[in-house]
Amino acid sequence: MQSLPTLALVIIVIAGMTILISRDWRIIAIALGVQYLGVFILVSLTWPINLAVIKLITGWMATAAIAFTCLRHNRSATQPESFASFLFRGLAGLLIVLLIFILSPSVQSQIFPSVDLILIQGGLMMIGLSLMKLGLNSEPYPVIISLFSFLAGFEVIHAALELSSLLTGLFVVVNLGLALTGVYLIVSMEDTKATSEEGDLR
């Protein structure tokens, strides 16, 4: 059983790095879905399974909503980029992972002494990597995905601090609301692109 949280942390780190590095919306969506699996495992360490599974279902629902919107709008799978920018994101991600491994023990001892170290590492990992992704992108899809990842990271840490049905419900509302907002913004942007392309063809 000890290996399960470690496995969850590994899943979160790999998924977080994939979300940061990849430009393919399909890979990012899959990575986010996998990341929610890690979130579920970590949250279930402090919450009953039946409540922890809410995080998993909500996360998957939100991911599906965004992914199906991209699919419906035939969003191009990858966008051209230079190797240098790919390398930069990879190195920046590794730096964040390293930094969080170094800082987590002191965060635990000074701020969250009652929270398991692996929860702090998992939560901060998602927060750090998602903030980096957020800072590097300005399109709706990556921004919304980053916000999902950011919230998931926070929820992992907060779950260890407080257990409340209302809070869980409110987080569900916020996550699904964010998904709907993301869908709205993606549709809005894609429609504008399509309209301007039609105009160019004429």
Binding site: Q110, L151, L166
Partner: protein, 471 residues
């Protein structure tokens, strides 16, 4: 009949918003329903008797102040009623203009739901959960800020990102604060909690350097929508913030904290004022003016021990009226031009549409704090007190206030100075009674508020009864 206050002021408007969505093709009807609902709720909150019992013929209605939801409470107490009245009254006012050209369909239901969620945020127990209600209000506001087909979403994405990032700070700060109450006053954890809390509120209130979404959203959204959002959201957040001061004695007694709030407020006034004065785009200038107003709120909060919280509360109605008039007149101007509104575009409009132009200028001057207008009595008191506290603090605040005046003068000169563009511009339609009546009424109210401060809307001060430690 027994009803609970959250059912009336939180659940009922959400149901009405749902009805508005179903009837969205009939915009006049939905406008009437939504604004009527908001005004009725405002009047109920303003005039409901303190014993929470009323009889209408044979029907006796008794209100209870709480509603249990999933093991927690939504608790809208009588002391919060003046603030609820303000929230719904101003929402109703903005809803009256929701049929103006270009206002997104989503505005009517979204504004009602935003009012409901902010009301819920003021009453949820534990009060920290309010952060999630405010985040919900933010998410609901996104569709009304943009419309399908809009490509200028950068400001909205920044707004969404920053507001979402702020929420965890508030939740974590609340958790930390609940633990530090019993600690000795020199514990480092107290400072850490205050920093986390301050960061959360700074992001929420668009304090520099987290401000850049405000002018962007203001520039790209419809003026009616952006003026509503820039009023309702900071108001809700500031009142929610009073909870922290009310509950935690060590925050209340921290001179350092109030100094920081005061300095931040003065810098925001100076920053917003200078940038407003430098703007050519009218909608963007409104965004920077909103930052100045947030600065005034922070300055008032920072002077809590000198009665600043009363000034903070009294500023809300005057600000609402100024913003509303600003949003209304800007949207009327905007509907006549295909290009972004700037000082060149509006040259000469003061002669063609004098009443609208006067409305625009007076809205700006009221927000700036011109004598005889609504904000003046509060702002002069605030600036005087700031000057008494520290010449530097008062000086910077005054400097920022002058920036707003400078911009108003630039707009005035542009409106009444015929320029080269005049002959190329389309002529604005002749001002009809229905267009200028709201302007005249709003100007009249701005003047009455300025001439007789404390006579109208002074009941808002009673909100303090919900915060017994701050009285």
């Amino acid at each position: 009949m027994i009803m609970s206050t959250p059912v009336i002021w939180v659940i009922f408007p959400i149901i009405v918003a749902g009805i508005c969505i179903f009837l969205s093709s009939r915009r006049r009807l939905t406008m009437a329903i939504a604004s009527l609902t908001a005004f009725v709720l405002a009047l109920l909150a303003a005039f409901f008797p303190e014993e929470l019992n009323i009889s209408i013929g044979p029907l006796a209605i008794t209100l209870v102040e709480s509603l249990h939801v999933l093991g927690r409470k939504l608790n809208l107490i009588y002391g919060m009623f003046p603030m609820i009245a303000l929230i719904y009254g101003t929402t109703g006012l903005w809803l009256l203009t929701s049929n103006l050209p270009g206002v997104p369909k989503a505005f009517q239901p979204a504004s009602l739901v935003i009012a409901a969620t902010i009301t819920a945020a003021l009453g949820v127990e534990p009060f920290l959960y309010a952060a999630l209600f405010i985040e919900t209000a933010v998410l609901i506001s996104v569709p009304m800020l943009t419309s399908l087909g809009g490509d200028k979403n950068q400001g909205i994405l920044r707004y969404l990102s920053l507001m979402t990032i702020a929420m965890p700070f508030i939740l974590i700060a609340g958790w930390l604060l609940s633990g530090v109450v019993t600690l000795p006053s020199d514990s480092p954890l107290i400072g850490q909690s205050a920093v986390v809390l301050g960061l959360g509120f700074a992001i929420w209130l668009a304090v520099f350097p987290f401000h850049n979404w405000v002018p962007m959203v203001s520039q790209t959204s419809h003026p009616v929508v952006s003026s509503f959002l820039l009023f309702i959201l900071p108001t809700g957040i500031l009142v929610f913030g009073l909870n922290f001061l009310n509950r935690y004695g060590f925050l209340r007694s921290s001179e350092t904290l109030f100094n920081i709030i005061r300095i931040t407020g003065a810098l925001m006034i100076a920053f917003g004022g200078v940038l407003t004065a430098a703007q050519d785009l009218l909608k963007r200038a409104f965004g920077f003016s909103a930052l100045t107003e947030i600065g005034y709120s922070l300055l008032a909060l920072g002077m809590a021990s000198e009665g600043g919280i009363i000034w903070l509360l009294l500023m809300f109605p005057a600000r609402a009226l100024g913003y509303w008039l600003w949003g209304y007149t800007l949207s009327r101007f905007e509907s006549n031009y295909d290009v972004p509104l700037n000082l060149d575009v509006i040259q000469g409009d003061g002669r063609r549409v004098p009443i609208l132009s006067t409305g625009l200028i007076l809205a700006q001057l009221s927000v700036a704090g011109l004598p005889l207008l609504a904000s003046f009595p509060i702002k002069i008191a605030l600036l005087t007190q700031a000057m008494v506290e520290s010449k530097v603090l008062g000086g910077w605040s005054l400097f920022g206030a002058l920036g707003l005046f400078l911009f108003s003068i630039r707009v005035l000169l542009s409106l009444y100075h015929p320029g080269d563009f005049e002959t190329q511009q389309p002529l604005l339609p002749k001002e009809s009674f229905l267009i200028y009546l709201p302007v005249i009424l709003a100007i009249g109210l701005l003047v009455v508020l300025g001439l007789f401060p404390g006579k109208l809307f002074s009941g808002i001060i009673n909100t303090l009864s919900a915060f017994p430690q701050l009285q």
